[in-house]
Amino acid sequence: MKLYELTIHEALNLLRRREISAVELTQALLDRIVDVDNDIKAYITLLPETALEEARLADERRREGMDGALLGIPLAVKDVICLAGAPTTCGSRILENFIPPYDATVIERLHQAGAVFLGKTNTDEFAMGSSTENSAFFTTHNPWDPSRVPGGSSGGSAAAVSADEALGALGSDTGGSVRQPASLCGIVGLKPTYGRVSRYGLVAFASSLDQIGPLCKDVTDCALLLHVIAGHDARDSTSWHAPVPDYTQALRSEIKGLRIGVPREYFAAGIQPGVETAVRKAIQVLADLGAEIAETSLPHTEYALPTYYLIAPAEASANLARYDGVKYGYAAADAADIWEAYRKTRQHGFGAEVKRRIMLGTYALSAGYYDAYYLKAQKVRTLIKQDFDRAFQQFDVLVGPTSPTVAFKIGEKIADPLQMYLSDIFTLGHNLAGICALSLPCGFCDGLPVGLQISGPAMGEEIVLRVAYAYEQATPWHTYKPALRNLSQNEYQMDKEHRR
């Protein structure tokens, strides 16, 4: 087995037994990136020098007898999370040259645990999108089929992990942006409960919905990463004070008697038949493992999409008001006065989808429309949350598909925003309700990965990880890797046209 193919927990075992060094492991990942990333285009910024230096320090610490939860583990970070000293672009022209002066709390915690940072991964601009096609720089390609999207917005992180260009990665999930790309790339992605992970240093998109989550090769790695990044942070007043359990203790393959609900709305019209087949088979596996399966209902599911696309753009329009060309970021040079400077900076700095959402959000919040749109959406949000509250009185977890389809073709949905928005139809509700949900591979349809979504109540990460682990242990899907057979093995060259 190649070093870059290891999972985090496998690599930790080898590192702890001194069979490999962090420098060797990091170099293997950097070489792998050289080999495949010209075709995958997962990374916006690579950090080879600092990564090798961090790896060298990790080896030194280990030689001195120290250990860490992730000591010497090379990871990728979605480019909406601040890592001091390296560009954080958010996939946007407006932040193309922005270098954050501080680390996000999650980066600080991963640093303390000994992680190595390989680079920053591609994303739809400001995490707004489901395919990475809204990145201002380039589109990431799905490792299972380069003519298809990796999903989004954390598509760079998902593709990097799927193509063995990182052992694990961080993403952010506002309406499905960790789970949908995890599903489309055949890996595991977790959106923690709102408040479980500090958002300090995550560039804000929709503040009542945003949450940072891990993208990994298997459920065990997901538990390991979550354990490091979870917990209260005084710098994020929306982070929860709840203690952080050792999530790896939840990884038991025993789920006999657990009550699992299957919301019938998640199998509504529009779902690809091959996706439904794979997910139904996965549910049968859970039944065979002794779980009690029953159909249930989340009656307001169909309202999640319009509710989300009022609340998220409204919050985004306020959050993105800070990009004014004064404190940081792109500034238009040729403006007559300050008002023109604002207009031009934002006109040229933002891409089409970001502008669309700023327009939508500003409209929904504007005088005369606030009650009809924004307030109405907040009330429907209550109904959606109550659906989940009721379901979790009856069930330990809910299961269904993560995405209604497998990975779609690049260009297929980009001209039709509503069609693109529909790819998140099964993931939006969890963000509106603030609960946790995970996607893991559960089979293939036309040779492309299908994701099973397992969701739990607020702070229910342990039960979600337990069910996911039991399923994973009973099935082979997490062991399948994309062949990358269409990829060239040329000398690595920085693709100037496609990379910053």
């Binding site: 040259n97 922005f98 270098i99 002066p101 501080y102 709102y194 408040g195 009542s208 005084a234 007043s237 929306t238 929860w240 169909e302 309202y303 999409l305 319009p306 696309y309 009022l310 329009s317 004014d324 060309g325 004064v326 404190k327 940081y328 970021g329 500034a331 403006a335 300050i338 008002w339 400077a341 604002y342 207009r343 934002r346 006109q347 040229h348 933002f350 089409a352 502008k355 669309r356 700023i358 327009m359 939508l360 500003t362 409209y363 504007s366 749109y373 307030l375 109405k376 959406a377 907040q378 009330k379 429907v380 949000r381 209550t382 109904l383 949350k385 925003p417 509503l418 309700a433 603030g434």
Partner: protein, 95 residues
């Protein structure tokens, strides 16, 4: 509901967002289609339903007021498009 060009221009001005004529045209069409889709929400009777602004069982989060370290002036200005004598430089706002 169809948004007019004037409405789109008004919203863009509220957001301080410059738009080309083609963009105004495009957003007229796309935002109208999206808003039409939102009409589905009006089917729900929500008169007695309280709004949810946040899902957390948290209200005003307080902390003790302790001085801590902050960014140096140099760090704070490092990303500024224009800075003069330790300040952010902006266009004049007074005649």
């Amino acid at each position: 509901m169809a948004l007019t060009r004037e409405q789109v221009k008004h919203v863009a001005e509220l957001a301080k967002l410059g738009l080309t004529d083609e963009e105004i045209e495009m957003y007229c069409e796309q935002l109208s289609a999206i808003l039409d889709y939102f009409v589905t929400l009006q089917r729900l009777d929500t008169d007695a339903i309280p709004p949810t602004a946040t899902v957390l069982p948290l209200r005003n989060v307080m902390r003790t007021d302790e001085p801590g370290s902050s960014l140096s002036r140099e760090d704070a200005l490092a990303n500024a498009p224009a800075a003069v004598e330790g300040y952010f430089q902006v266009k004049a706002i007074l005649e």
